[in-house]
């Protein structure tokens, strides 16, 4: 039987995520790095009491629509619809304005565990790598050290940090194949490759599915063994095809596309 991790729809991809699940959500600040369609499907499903693990708590789709992002939903869709019980997060609020997460926080409607970004990434990676814990200096002398084991190593103080385990990881990649091998685009890797394999089930939303063998093994970032499901975005103007007014940016974009094409030694086929 050929291995086939490709699922036909976003609803199918998230069908077994239930109330109270712990979910990791990839991406960073900007929506193009995030699994927008999976978040939408999860919201449609109407799950409650999620514990989420993510870098940020979202700006909301309106912000990204203004920037022309074709898939504009970020963490805010789960926040504003009250689907989150607890957020393990590095950048929950904005210094610039009050986001929906802050409103919930102030109203006492959501729990928070704020984690320094690098510690969050490493706690996720530890879960993926089967590491039972690790020591970091980050947080010594701050609120982060409260109730954590300290240890002096080579004369420097460290804190014990533990892995974050999750039921599902929702991530976004540029291209993927039926084995779950993934490549990313530009600065949109962020937490996506880190979270791949860190949960019991990893679901990858990709811009495009390509035939097995089309991704150059030299440039595959996420080995397919970390990924359980692959689902493709609908074919509409995706980011790399969106309009650009700047000829230089356009040129660099085309060059980047060409680089990837060359690296992958073949033309991708859209499903």
């Amino acid at each position: 039987m050929p291995i086939n991790k490709i699922v036909a729809s976003f609803d199918e991809a998230v069908a077994d995520i239930g109330d109270g699940a712990v979910i990791m959500v990839g991406g960073f600040g900007t929506v193009v790095s995030m699994p927008s369609c999976l978040l939408e499907a999860l919201d449609r499903k109407g799950v409650k009491n999620l514990t989420t693990v993510s870098n940020s708590s979202g700006f909301g789709a309106d912000v990204w629509r203004m920037q022309g992002a074709p898939f504009p939903e970020d963490m805010d869709i789960l926040v504003r619809n009250g689907r989150i019980k607890k957020a393990i997060v590095s950048a929950p609020v904005s210094a610039m304005y009050v986001n929906n997460f802050e409103k919930l926080l102030r109203a006492g409607k959501v729990e928070i565990e704020m984690v320094p970004q690098g510690t969050l990434a490493e706690r996720v990676r530890a879960a993926k790598a089967g590491i039972g814990g690790f020591y970091v200096p980050v947080g010594i002398g701050t609120v982060i050290e409260e109730s954590k084991e300290k240890k002096v190593i080579d004369g420097r103080e460290y804190l014990l940090e533990l892995p974050i385990k999750a039921d599902f990881a929702l991530i976004h990649a540029y291209r993927g194949d039926r084995w779950g091998n993934l490549v990313y685009r530009g600065t949109s890797r962020t937490f996506n490759p880190t979270m791949a394999g860190a949960a019991r089930v990893t679901i990858a939303e990709v811009d495009e599915i390509v035939e097995l063998g089309e991704l150059d093994p030299e440039v595959i970032v996420t080995p397919g063994v970390y990924v359980d499901r692959v689902v493709a975005r609908p074919k509409k103007a995706s980011v790399q095809e969106s309009k650009s007014t700047d000829s230089q940016a356009e040129e660099s974009k085309q060059k980047h596309e060409a680089d990837i094409m060359t690296a992958q030694k073949g033309k991708g086929t859209r499903r």
Binding site: F28, G29, T30, V32, A95, P137, S252, H256
Partner: protein, 227 residues
């Protein structure tokens, strides 16, 4: 609190960024925070090759593009689109913070609410809202070899930001090396805060009035040099 200093011209954000960029030495690996620090990417002194790091997983990015003119998959940590540049590379978040935490960054530049005379930094809890975002600030403050703070010298209300002891939640203790403000450049040393440069038209006495801890005026204290 601070007062009675006649209205003198303060440096604007661009000029502060220009002064910060002067600290970048040839070959330095530099992380720039959101706001004034980020602007420094556009002011690298001529002839110096500097590699910029951003938390979202990029080394070696180019200048910030004009709004609406960049590639959304090529951004700095503040979400500003940046230009492609030869030598740049991308990586995951765990790799990005291995670079930060592992001591591979020469300089980190960020903003602050308060800096103490010992170099303690408070910059994540928004004081009036009692919420905050740690983000990458703690990792950067602990990990970078040199930490430069770029901020206005006082709050909008005229309160001290350079204080004897931080009142706000600490990002990291004893981590700041240099403070670039809109009126001065101050080095954090074991002996205390050393006033190195003042904005044109300002005297060391003017700066002291707006600074809570005692400043040690450097023997060669002079007007801020931008070139």
């Amino acid at each position: 609190m601070s007062s009675e200093v006649p209205e003198k011209q303060r440096l604007d954000r661009q000029i502060m960024a220009l002064r910060v960029a002067k600290e970048f030495k040839d070959g330095n690996v530099v992380n720039l925070g959101i706001g004034i620090p980020g602007l420094a990417a556009n002011f690298v002194p001529a002839g110096r090759e500097v590699i910029f790091h951003s938390e979202n997983g990029v080394l070696g990015y180019g200048e910030i593009t004009l709004p609406g003119e960049g590639d959304l998959d090529l951004v700095n940590a503040g979400g500003q689109t940046v230009k492609r540049a030869p030598g740049m590379c991308f990586f995951s978040h765990d790799e990005s913070f291995a670079i930060v935490r592992g001591g591979h960054l020469d300089i980190s530049v960020m903003g602050a609410y308060q800096v103490s005379e010992k170099g303690d930094l408070a910059n994540y809890m928004v004081p009036e809202r009692q919420v905050g975002t740690i983000g990458g600030a703690m990792d950067l403050a602990f990990g970078a070899k040199k930490l430069i703070i770029a901020m206005n010298h006082t709050t909008k209300e005229g309160d001290y930001r350079i204080v004897k002891k931080c009142h706000y939640h600490l990002t990291a203790p004893k981590c700041v090396d240099l403070i670039v403000t809109d009126i001065a450049v101050i080095e954090v040393t074991k002996k205390g805060l050393v006033l190195k440069e003042v904005a044109p038209g300002w005297t060391p006495e003017d700066v002291q009035k707006l600074t809570e801890p005692r400043l040690i005026v450097a023997p060669d204290c002079h007007d801020i040099e931008l070139m």
